[in-house]
């Protein structure tokens, strides 16, 4: 079929419905809401960004969100490495296939349902407190620790799969050479496996980092603190200040642009 005919409709859809909307979002960010009428005033102003920069609360929320995204990403990387290594280098091809499906399938199971399941698990009379009770311990409940746990859970499969793919590409000869030269398991891991797998880990981290940055539902359902997403959501709905919400929404976009640029330098894009 002809190129023009093929390209016309998807291009028109994406440019009009998506790029156009993004443009509207960025334009809205430099408008403001009239304090008395609540109507959007379509005049250029950087007030929203000034408020973001100068208000203590918003700065704290931004740092808190980035900090949580980083914590979730690191935890996921630590949890993902052993299982990814097992899948790529130890398991038989048959087991490997089964494991890939076993990790990929729940990744598609409803995000909201998973968050809800954790809400049930973390609740006061829930299964976690029941299990920890005899040990004299308490679960994290609905706190930032709980939010961190649930985010870690949600994005773990997104971390496992790229690391698995990255580890699978390491030639066995390198590992054999390392052990021939007298390196023990841990030495080989530190000097050979980890450096070679690093771009893949960065590739996985793009998902855990980006998804945590923009999320507002998880902190609302299993947490007790506000993150960037919560402020944006409140300003669209309850506060009805679309320009300010739009301005704050550009923050995760900017952070992701920087993050993606760094990830590209680490060679992560060849591992996606």
């Amino acid at each position: 079929m002809r190129l023009g005919a093929l390209l016309a409709s998807p291009l028109a859809w994406l440019v009009v419905a998506y790029v156009g909307s993004l443009a509207v979002l960025f334009v809205t960010a430099v408008w403001r809401v009239d304090a008395f009428t609540g109507e959007i005033v379509r005049e250029f102003t950087l007030d929203n960004f000034r408020t973001l920069w100068e208000t203590d609360v918003y700065r704290r929320i931004t740092f808190r969100t980035v900090g949580l995204a980083a914590a979730v990403t690191i935890t996921d990387a630590v949890l993902a490495l052993p299982i990814a290594y097992y899948m790529a280098r130890v398991a038989s091809p048959r087991t490997r296939g089964i494991l890939v499906v076993a990790i990929l399938t729940p990744l598609w199971a409803s995000y909201l349902v998973k968050v809800y399941a954790w809400r049930t698990i973390l609740s006061g009379g829930g299964i976690l407190n029941w299990a920890l009770g005899p040990l004299g311990l308490d679960g994290p409940g609905y706190t930032t620790t709980g939010t961190w746990l649930v985010f870690t859970y949600l994005w773990l499969p997104f971390m496992i799969l790229p690391i698995y793919a990255g580890l699978e590409r390491i030639p066995s000869s390198l590992l054999e050479a390392s052990s021939d030269l007298g390196s023990r398991g841990l030495g080989t891991f530190r000097r050979i496996v980890f450096p070679l797998a690093f771009p893949a880990i960065v590739a996985g981290s793009i998902f855990s980092f980006s998804l945590t940055l923009g999320d507002y539902i998880t902190p609302q359902v299993v947490g007790n603190t506000n993150f960037i997403g919560n402020v944006v959501y409140t300003n669209v709905g309850v506060a009805n200040n679309l320009p300010f919400a739009a301005a704050f929404a550009t923050v995760p976009v900017l952070i992701m642009v920087v993050y993606l640029a760094l990830a590209k330098r680490a060679g992560a894009f060849e591992n996606l």
Binding site: S110, Y111, L112, T120, Y153, F158, G185, S210, V232, A249
Partner: protein, 270 residues
């Protein structure tokens, strides 16, 4: 020694991944309205109760409508884009792949906000249409990825032979390209359906007063007496997204690179 440790770690990670899904499946049969553990007794009553709930049925119906419409649009646009990128060389080809992936590469809240801002700007009323526009936009990538992967594995020489033998471009598509793409299209459609059916973040910004099934769950979370019904709906939602994905995986043996993962990213956040 280290192998045993790795095996234990693998088992523990899998248990961690599946644990919440099993817990919620058990709660769907919980006799009591309170969601404590251990569960005191089991019943299947809540399934009937959920089915009789008009709001749940309406939400299920709306979710199905949205998912079907978004899938149909994504199927068409995703296939066109894939054919263009995989079978032609042109200026800006990279940009097309980038454009297709962008709606799920950016945080869901950005996509949702952007659509919301432009609906408000141009005075479009919130409803089925606005939900479908959003869903279709981020579903295109799933179809696109499946079709591109299939086209890259199949040789363009078959299509060239077909046109050398005098077939017009429609005949070539109908008798040569389409049969090769059939399972990839089906897999893409199933994934797009699952993605749309689950989506919540973008939908909260584009649905107005309408309630899809995930939105229904979200708004009812704060109502304790509704929790038994939410449990049932949760199990149904898991099954309705996991079964298509599982079938799709059987249909395609293509390695799941960023396409699968990134697409799932959308499904997950949303």
């Amino acid at each position: 020694m280290s192998r045993i440790l790795l095996r234990i770690a693998t088992g523990a990670t899998l248990a961690f991944i599946y644990f919440p899904l099993f817990v919620i499946a058990l709660y769907a049969f919980n006799e009591s309205v309170t969601q404590g553990w251990p569960i005191s007794g089991y019943t299947t009553d809540w399934f009937g109760e959920a089915w009789r709930d008009e709001n749940v049925r309406d939400a299920l119906f709306l979710s199905e409508q949205c998912a079907l419409a978004a899938t149909a649009i994504a199927l068409l646009l995703g296939t066109f884009a894939a054919l263009a990128v995989a079978r032609h060389r042109f200026f800006g080809r990279e940009t097309i792949s980038f454009l297709v992936i962008l709606p799920i590469a950016l945080p869901g809240i950005v996509t949702g906000m952007a659509l919301n801002a432009s609906y408000v700007r141009f005075g479009i009323d919130f409803g089925l249409l606005t939900i479908v526009i959003g869903h279709a936009t981020f579903c295109i990538v799933v179809v696109y990825n499946n079709v591109v992967a299939r086209l890259r594995r199949s040789s363009p020489s078959l299509e060239e032979a077909s046109s050398d033998l005098g077939a017009d471009s429609w005949q070539t598509f109908r008798y040569v390209t389409f049969p090769q793409l059939r399972t990839a299209l089906l897999a893409g459609a199933l994934l797009a359906f699952a993605l749309s059916f689950d989506e919540v973040i973008v939908t909260t910004f584009t649905s107005g007063a309408e309630q899809t099934l995930p939105i229904w769950i979200f708004t009812n979370l704060a109502r304790p007496q509704q929790l038994p019904i939410i449990n049932v709906v949760a199990v149904v939602v898991i099954l309705l997204s996991v079964i298509p994905v599982w079938i799709a995986q059987r249909l395609t043996r293509e390695p799941t690179g960023v396409g699968g993962i990134a697409a799932a990213a959308a499904g997950a956040r949303q």
